[in-house]
């Protein structure tokens, strides 16, 4: 476990950089986390995915995989990879302050 500073607040993150406590996340932290992931500007479509991830996590206790995102978020698989080239579900979960989604598909 290590820590990171986003928006002037220190938060605990795991070895891969995912929040240990999703409750500590605020929207204001997202742009800074995104930048560290190589995404300089969060567009409306980025936010659509980030907010969807967060809502799914709060409702179901885990974030959706790329397959589920493509079917339910309103953003196609192709566009998801354009928005988050380093893995849509993984990167969006990190920016949304939730744990890495688990699933093989």
């Amino acid at each position: 476990m290590s820590s990171a500073i986003y928006g002037g607040t220190t938060v605990e993150v795991n070895d891969e950089g995912f929040f240990e406590d999703p409750g500590k996340w605020t929207e204001a932290m997202a742009p800074e986390i995104a930048k560290a992931q190589g995404i300089d500007v969060l567009t409306e479509h980025h936010w659509q995915v980030i907010k969807f991830m967060r809502a799914e996590y709060i409702e179901k206790g885990s974030g959706p995989t790329v397959r589920v995102l493509g079917k339910t978020s309103g953003v196609s698989i192709k566009e998801l990879y354009q928005l988050f080239p380093k893995g849509p579900a993984k990167t969006a979960a990190k920016i949304a302050g939730i744990p890495k989604p688990r699933g093989c598909i």
Partner: protein, 155 residues
């Protein structure tokens, strides 16, 4: 921690359902992790990217001890279709996509899909016989050039 894997090249040489899914799952999973992925279809693996066979990939019910089915029973007419149907139903429940949809999805993730030239020559196939997602028919030399610097997985 070891250096992360940055690129995988997965060769699919089998045309059975159990021979194809692991490769598709690995390619899709690699992309989900941000890993560059290319799929190469050779020999009977070509069935996966052939327009007329992609929808008819079946489980091998003979010579497949993992099924725990007597060989003589596995050879009965229709057994392969029945077992395939059974597995497909189970996969549907787990939201594992059918092969045509899965291949399309993998292409959408940005993974490359290629056919092996030696195999297309052998089976007398041209680009017009292959699904639209196939980027090119390539030689083994071109494959190695493309795979350079990454991991190669043969299935």
């Amino acid at each position: 921690m070891s250096d992360p894997i940055e690129k995988v090249s997965i060769i699919v040489s089998k045309g059975s359902l159990e021979g194809v899914y692991p490769a598709l799952i690995m390619a899709n999973g690699a992309r989900a992790e941000g890993i560059e992925a290319n799929l190469f279809f050779t020999f009977f693996g070509l069935d996966v990217i052939h327009r007329s066979t992609i929808d008819h990939i079946k489980v091998a019910t003979v010579g497949n001890p993992g099924l725990h089915l007597a060989t003589i029973a596995g050879g009965l007419p229709g057994m392969s279709s029945v077992m395939t149907h059974y597995l497909e139903k189970k996969m549907e429940k787990l939201d594992i996509p059918p092969i045509p949809e899965f291949v399309e999805m993998i292409a959408d993730t940005g993974a490359g899909i290629y056919a092996c030239k030696a195999s297309t020559d052998l089976f007398e196939l041209g680009e017009e016989d292959l699904i639209d997602q196939v980027m090119d028919i390539i030689t083994v030399g071109e494959f190695f050039a493309m795979a350079a610097g990454g991991e190669i997985i043969f299935t």
